[in-house]
């Protein structure tokens, strides 16, 4: 733990992202999102499966402490995991159980009875309801992340910039509100979310170094998939549709020329 602040300092020195001097004092407009490249960009882009798996790990071990991902079911994870892996992940989740033989849904301490999850179950939210979420987060509501990439101007680059936009010195005269954190990529500059990622927040199974940038890039890849899981299918069908329409247009153009040849 002692090494962490030092590591963060070292990171600040190395990463030439935004220097304090570049941050305008007037943060009525947040900084534009950083320029990032993604595996899923462009007409042939796909979700890098390794980044997706690492991103899932970051979501599960870090983000899911506060943020739900309600629209994703465990069977969706077969996108980048084997069915056995998805089943194991589902089984490790505690899902509210049906009433037991006595018709009870709570145990003798009043806790909700649970059962191991199955593939058809959705991810379980960290808090029972909005009030519980707010009570645990200083009054702020951590948004569900299922659509976060599509629900923000700037998309993946914006979410990445938020995640990596902490640890910057606020410009002179900028007041960071009580219980909030400075992040110049967030509208107003005051964000309720504490810096979520640190170097080594997760230990990647594939040996990738877990820098803040790496973690952010991975989890944003995963969340982009969560927001648009049919993107690869869409681009695949799109290619066929484009080729088909080009051919049809070409043939129609030739027919058009042929039909009109004698009319001019």
């Amino acid at each position: 733990m002692k090494a962490l602040p030092l590591a963060a300092l070292a990171l600040l020195a190395v990463v030439p992202a935004v220097r304090a001097a570049d941050i305008p004092v007037d943060l009525s407009e947040p900084l534009p999102p950083k320029a990032v490249t993604w595996s899923f960009e462009g007409p042939f882009g796909t979700y890098d499966r390794a980044a997706w798996q690492r991103g899932f790990q970051v979501y599960k071990e870090v983000c899911s402490a506060c943020h739900s991902l309600n629209r994703i079911a465990f069977h969706d994870l077969t996108f980048g995991f084997s069915e056995a892996q998805a089943k194991a992940l589902a089984a490790a989740a505690k899902v509210p159980a049906d009433p037991n033989d006595k018709g009870e849904t709570t145990d003798d301490k009043g806790e909700r009875l649970t059962r191991p999850g199955i593939l058809a179950d959705h991810f379980q939210p960290p808090f029972a309801n909005e009030e519980a979420a707010r009570a645990n987060n200083g009054g702020a509501l951590p948004p569900d992340l299922s659509l976060i990439v599509k629900a923000r101007e700037g998309g993946a680059a914006y979410v990445y910039s938020i995640l990596t936009g902490f640890h910057l010195t606020p410009p002179k005269g900028f007041a960071v509100q009580d219980g909030k954190y400075f992040n110049p990529y967030f509208a107003g500059g005051n964000i309720s979310m504490p810096p979520p990622l640190a170097e080594g927040s997760v230990t990647y199974a594939d040996g990738t170094t877990a820098s803040i940038d790496q973690e952010a890039h991975d989890v944003v890849t995963f969340l982009s998939w969560a927001a648009e899981p049919k993107m690869e299918e869409r681009k695949h069908i799109g290619l066929g549709a484009m080729v088909f329409m080009l051919l049809i247009s070409g043939l129609l153009f030739l027919s058009y020329r042929r039909v009109w040849k004698d009319a001019h």
Binding site: P43, R71, D76, P143, S146, L147, K150, A151, R152, E153, G155, A187, A227, P229, K230, E233, R234, K235, I237, G238, L239, A241, M242, M245, L246, I248, S249, L252, F253, S255, Y256, V259, W260, A263
Partner: protein, 419 residues
């Protein structure tokens, strides 16, 4: 519909049918032999493009309605279910959402084409007015449709637009609010509003299809206008609709669909607002409530007037103005090709509409680019020009402008066909 029918039934059944319900004769006369000016250019393909878009919207819409749930608690989730679970649901929804934008792109080209070539002038006034009605129906349908996903922009857009009616309070106190309450089916936009908007969103496309039938009927009585704006003098000026325009329209329809599908498959959220991927929340107002792009010029006009009732009247007036265009234009010449002044004012008008659209897309207190000129003043000048174009420039130009000489006929233009 125009001219004597040339249909000859070829079989016994066709003869039998022809003397009972002459559907084949109708199709033959309107879609095959219909004499069409031989000089129609690319801009005349947008009628066929619009028909295609209407069919795409109706088919995809019917499929979406099979899976959509018009309930304030379930609408957003049902749309996400369509996007994630239903087979090809994402395709249906992206086709439908982008289809609306491309429908409007086509209708704007179609309308500007009508303005440029004077297609509203006698004897096509009713054809033009039916077009204006179609445009208004399209805007209503699109507005209702935008509310259905029940995202933040759906909810707040519906709130802003239905609140226009509360401006009537300034004429008779409480009257406008009563109208708004009646429209909502409650004291705010809510579940009853969503249900009736869904009902109307399903109804109006079929009304549109019906008016399209009238529009085509009104087109087939005088026949097509054409880029020269002169009347057809005889058979040498026309070609049969089939195969000449079926193949030409089909080519341009295919090109249009190619571009449309490019957005559907590779930039499906280009025309959308990210805020609409956040479920509707009546207690959180988005920082900027922006309508869909095709309504932005009117939104700019509305906001350019500092008084609510007047603003609503200006916006409504800008649309109603279109009905009077056939009589506001006093020129004897239809096509702007032969109207040197009208041609220039037409393009200024196009730019004015684009500027108004830009003003409508920016926040209410925005400045012009990096200057300190409030954008609302640009919108005010733009609004003034919009009305001046129709109510001042159009009537005046017909009196002061000297048109270029018109060609004798479509088949033998006197002037070089260089233009």
């Amino acid at each position: 519909m125009s001219g004597p029918s040339t249909y000859v039934p070829k079989s016994g059944f066709a003869r039998w049918m022809d003397s009972r319900l002459p559907l084949a004769r109708f199709a033959h006369d309107t879609m095959l032999t219909f004499p069409t000016p031989r000089n129609l250019n690319i801009w005349y393909a947008f009628g066929a493009i619009l028909t295609t878009m209407l069919m795409i919207q109706i088919v995809t819409g019917i499929v979406l309605a099979m899976h959509y749930v018009a309930n304030a608690d379930m609408a957003f989730d049902s749309v996400e279910n369509i996007m994630r679970v239903i087979n090809y649901g994402w395709l249906m929804r992206y086709l439908h959402a982008n289809g609306a934008s491309f429908f409007f792109i086509a209708v704007y080209v179609h309308m500007f084409r009508g303005l440029y070539y004077g297609s509203y002038k006698t004897p096509r006034e009713v054809l033009w007015i039916l077009g204006v009605i179609l445009y208004l129906l399209m805007m209503a349908t699109a507005f209702f449709g935008y509310v259905l996903p029940w995202g933040q922009m759906s909810f707040w857009g519906a709130t802003v637009i239905t609140n226009f009616f509360s401006a009537l309070d300034q004429i008779t106190p409480h009257w406008g609010s009563a109208v708004a309450t009646w429209l909502w089916g409650g004291y705010a936009v809510g579940d009853p509003t969503l249900n009736r908007f869904f009902s109307l969103h399903y109804l109006l496309p079929f009304v549109i299809a019906g008016v399209v039938g009238l529009h085509v009927w009104a087109l087939h009585v005088p026949g097509n206008n054409n880029p020269l704006g002169i009347d057809v003098k005889g058979p040498q000026d026309t070609v049969p609709f089939h195969p000449y325009y079926t193949v030409k329209d089909a080519f341009y329809v295919a090109l249009f669909i190619l571009i449309y599908l490019g957005f559907v498959f590779y930039a499906p959220n280009f025309f959308g607002n990210p805020d609409n991927y956040t479920p509707a929340n009546p207690v959180v107002t988005p920082p900027d409530i922006v309508p869909e792009w095709y309504l932005l010029p009117y939104y700019a006009m509305l906001r350019s007037v500092p008084q609510k009732l007047l603003g609503v009247l200006v916006m409504a007036g800008s649309l109603i103005t279109l009905v009077f265009v056939p009589w506001l234009d006093t020129s004897k010449v239809r096509s702007s090709r032969f109207r040197p002044m009208m041609k220039q004012f037409f393009w200024i008008f196009v730019v004015d509409c684009l500027i108004l659209g830009y003003c409508g897309s920016q926040s209410a207190d925005a400045m012009l680019l990096s200057t300190s000129i409030p954008l609302v003043w640009v919108a005010r000048i733009g609004t003034l020009f919009y009305f001046a174009f129709f109510w001042l420039i159009m009537p005046l130009l017909g009196l002061i402008e000297t048109p270029k000489p018109l060609p004798a006929s479509i088949a033998q233009p006197v002037l070089s066909p260089a233009e």
